[in-house]
């Protein structure tokens, strides 16, 4: 039971982390209609910036500066790259961000080497938050969850309760109309892109210290974030939250399930037959954990193509 609670909590924290990265991605998609392949690269950049600055500034300020720097890179990408190829269409933008993500990963390898770097949580944050039974729960996970929740709250309030939020939502919904009413939609685009990148950078700076920081982290998280955005519904913030938590919990719980498809078929009396087939049938669910999100995504695309909370097809 303890183990179940812990893996549930771990799943929730991982889900919240996924949400921090996917929030910016889904907003940018809703706004520009382009899925930014390089978005997870900002997550990686955040982790590496924070790692590089940690010795100079200390952990807390390093995280803040890394967040700002990632946002700045995001603004540069939007202003000098994406805007230039906008006229060539969405496919071209997608390919460009794909190339940029490639360059960022290779540049990271150039500066920091093609191996995990020693980026750790500071000792002052490395203590136990609470205990259930014999197991202790690290405070840093709780901190990550708090950061993500605070970010969700701030973003939600900003979008729904402020004047800036109204303009941003208008620009997302009907960019031409907002432009005609005298708002600088280009600036809004750049701002949202930068904020999205900064949020991803914040997630990377916070999470990189807990998980590993290596040049492949963008790809690993990136693929998962695309799944989140597609499952949640492209452009929907609430959907991204729901899907992140769902995927975080599912992958975390699946790791501890020691059953296979053959066991499941045992309920209808076909266990021996399934075990004879072997292959996929006898694989434990725990070893399939990494593939579950993709299966979920294919399932969602089949039965509900617009995603859990997406508005349009």
């Amino acid at each position: 039971m303890d183990a179940f609670v812990f893996s549930l909590l771990n799943g929730l924290v991982y889900g919240l982390l996924l949400f921090m990265v996917s929030a910016g991605l889904t907003l940018v998609f809703g706004m520009m209609g382009v899925l930014n392949f390089a978005h997870a690269s900002f997550y990686m950049l955040g982790a590496y910036f924070s790692f590089a600055l940690q010795g100079l500034l200390g952990f807390g300020p390093a995280v803040v500066v890394a967040t700002l720097l990632s946002g700045l890179v995001g603004v540069i990408v939007e202003r000098f790259f994406l805007r230039r190829v906008h006229a060539h269409g969405h496919a071209h933008e997608l390919l460009l961000t794909f190339g940029l993500s490639f360059i960022i990963a290779e540049a990271i390898k150039l500066f920091f080497g093609n191996f995990p770097v020693d980026y750790r949580i500071p000792a002052s944050l490395d203590f136990t938050a609470f205990r259930i039974g014999a197991q202790s729960y690290p405070a840093y996970r709780v901190l990550m969850a708090v950061v993500a929740l605070a970010m969700f709250g701030a973003l939600y309030l900003l979008l729904t309760r402020t004047r800036i939020g109204i303009i941003v939502r208008a620009a997302i919904h009907k960019p031409r109309m907002a432009q005609a009413l005298g708002h600088n939609v280009q600036l809004v685009f750049m701002g949202v892109f930068g904020v999205g990148a900064a949020l991803a950078g914040l997630a990377g700076a916070v999470a990189g210290a807990f998980y590993t920081t290596n040049p492949n982290m963008a790809l690993e998280v990136g693929v998962m974030v695309f799944v989140v955005v597609v499952v949640g519904g492209l452009g929907s913030l609430g959907g991204a939250m729901l899907a992140s938590l769902l995927i975080g919990v599912v992958t975390s719980l699946a790791v501890s399930v020691d059953r296979s498809l053959a066991d499941l078929l045992g309920f209808v009396g076909a266990q021996a037959w399934a075990e004879n087939i072997g292959g996929l049938m006898t694989l434990k669910v725990s070893s399939l954990a990494a593939t579950l999100p993709f299966m979920l995504m294919l399932l969602i695309l089949l039965v509900r193509p617009r995603g859990l909370m997406g508005e349009k097809n």
Binding site: F29, L35, A91, F98, L100, F102, I103, E106, L283, S287
Partner: protein, 393 residues
């Protein structure tokens, strides 16, 4: 002609490289049938390449090692497997279009990549599966030369078939699918069926390319499902230019040739590839083949008196820009390497770096001024070329 004469001209090592060039060229052509002709961006084509490779290896091992088919026909197994998987995956993926389509293809490839090491009997776990080429039709397929000719035959045949597909009504309709799917549906065509057919044909030829690679390596490993394989086919095709038929093949051949030639000298080849790709995307969306095309049009329309200086300027600009870029990257790469850091900590002042047959001190102005000067000069020449072109337009 030249391709057929290569075995006589090249040493064995280079022949293996040209074999890989052929496979990469076929893979890129198959990929751009889907991405260029049908306009559907796939980011997971490694899946069909890998399926083809594994199917071929299994077929080579079948019947107690004798092989399911004679060796020269073995790539057909890869093609059949690619086709079968392509029909299933294509049926899923082409339900949606645009960005969602791209994401589905990525998810399918990642699914396979995550699943493959787990399924030991099918994909041989982490170590992969190996097989032997069996003698057939009076040839023993022991030497690289024979494998090269076999690959060449299959690649030429496949390229011809792919070209022919563009001339058939189905190929023309695929093109129409890219241009305007709604209108096509309105005209009464089965749009989903067309999409699946383009996807499946592309997957089939990707599988064939995978089979050829498995045949030449006599092995397959789950690394063929890696995201890097999917990425490189995208980069190759677009650097070559998906707009023309031979563009992707040209791009893939060029890129894998440079990859082979340069990979011993530099560790940053992937970075150059990425930068080249982004450069092409931003400044020459039609790719290398598009550049060649517009260059030759320039000569034909404006005469060589105008075209020659512009072309020379542009080529010089490109050379200067790449020289400056390469210099900076290589310098940084050496500066950030672990050996150098260890050395710098041991020594009192920064040790010099040997590059291009000269020792450079990382602290001096000249070391950094030189590449910056190269870059600035290159940019100025590029602007000059553009202005000349603009003034005479």
């Amino acid at each position: 002609m030249l391709l057929a004469a290569l075995p006589a001209l090249l040493p064995a090592g280079l022949l293996i490289a040209s074999n890989q060039m052929l496979v990469a060229a076929l893979f890129a052509s198959a990929y751009s049938l889907l991405s260029g002709r049908a306009g559907m961006l796939s980011f997971g084509h490694a899946a069909y390449f890998g399926i083809g490779a594994f199917a071929t290896v299994h077929a080579m091992n079948a019947v107690g090692g004798a092989g399911l088919l004679p060796t020269p026909l073995m790539p057909l197994i890869g093609a059949a497997a690619g086709l079968a998987v392509g029909i299933v995956a294509g049926w899923f993926a082409t339900q949606r279009s645009g960005t969602t389509f791209a994401m589905i293809t990525l998810a399918i490839a990642e699914l396979l990549h995550a699943l493959a090491p787990q399924l030991k009997s099918l994909f041989g776990g982490e170590s992969g599966i190996s097989a032997m080429r069996m003698p057939a039709w009076g040839l023993d397929f022991g030497s690289t030369t024979q494998v090269y000719y076999l690959t060449l035959c299959w690649v030429l045949l496949s390229l011809a078939l792919l070209y022919f597909h563009g001339l058939t009504p189905a190929g023309r309709l695929t093109l129409a699918l890219r241009e305007n799917g709604h209108r096509l549906r309105f005209l009464g065509y089965n749009v989903h069926g067309l999409g699946v057919s383009a996807f499946a044909i592309s997957a089939m030829f990707s599988g064939l390319a995978g089979g050829l690679q498995a045949l030449s390596n006599e092995a397959a490993n789950y690394a063929v499902f890696d995201a890097g394989v999917s990425a490189s086919v995208v980069l190759n095709s677009y650097i070559g230019g998906v707009g023309s038929f031979f563009g992707p093949a040209l791009g893939a051949a060029l890129m894998s040739f440079f990859g082979y030639a340069v990979s011993d000298i530099t560790q940053s080849w992937m970075l150059y590839q990425g930068v080249l790709f982004v450069g092409v995307m931003m400044f020459a969306p039609a790719g290398v083949s598009g550049l060649l095309g517009s260059g030759s049009r320039l000569f034909a329309q404006r005469g060589w008196k105008l075209a020659l200086p512009v072309t020379l300027l542009a080529v010089c600009a490109a050379l200067l820009l790449s020289a400056g870029g390469v210099f900076i990257v290589e310098m940084l790469q050496r500066l950030c390497s672990q050996d150098y850091r260890a050395m710098a900590q041991a020594a009192a002042k920064l040790p010099t770096i040997a590059l291009f047959g000269r020792a450079w001190s990382p602290g001096s102005v000249l070391t950094w001024a030189l590449p910056v000067a190269l870059l600035v000069l290159g940019a100025v020449l590029a602007l000059a070329a553009r202005r000349r072109l603009g003034a005479n337009a």
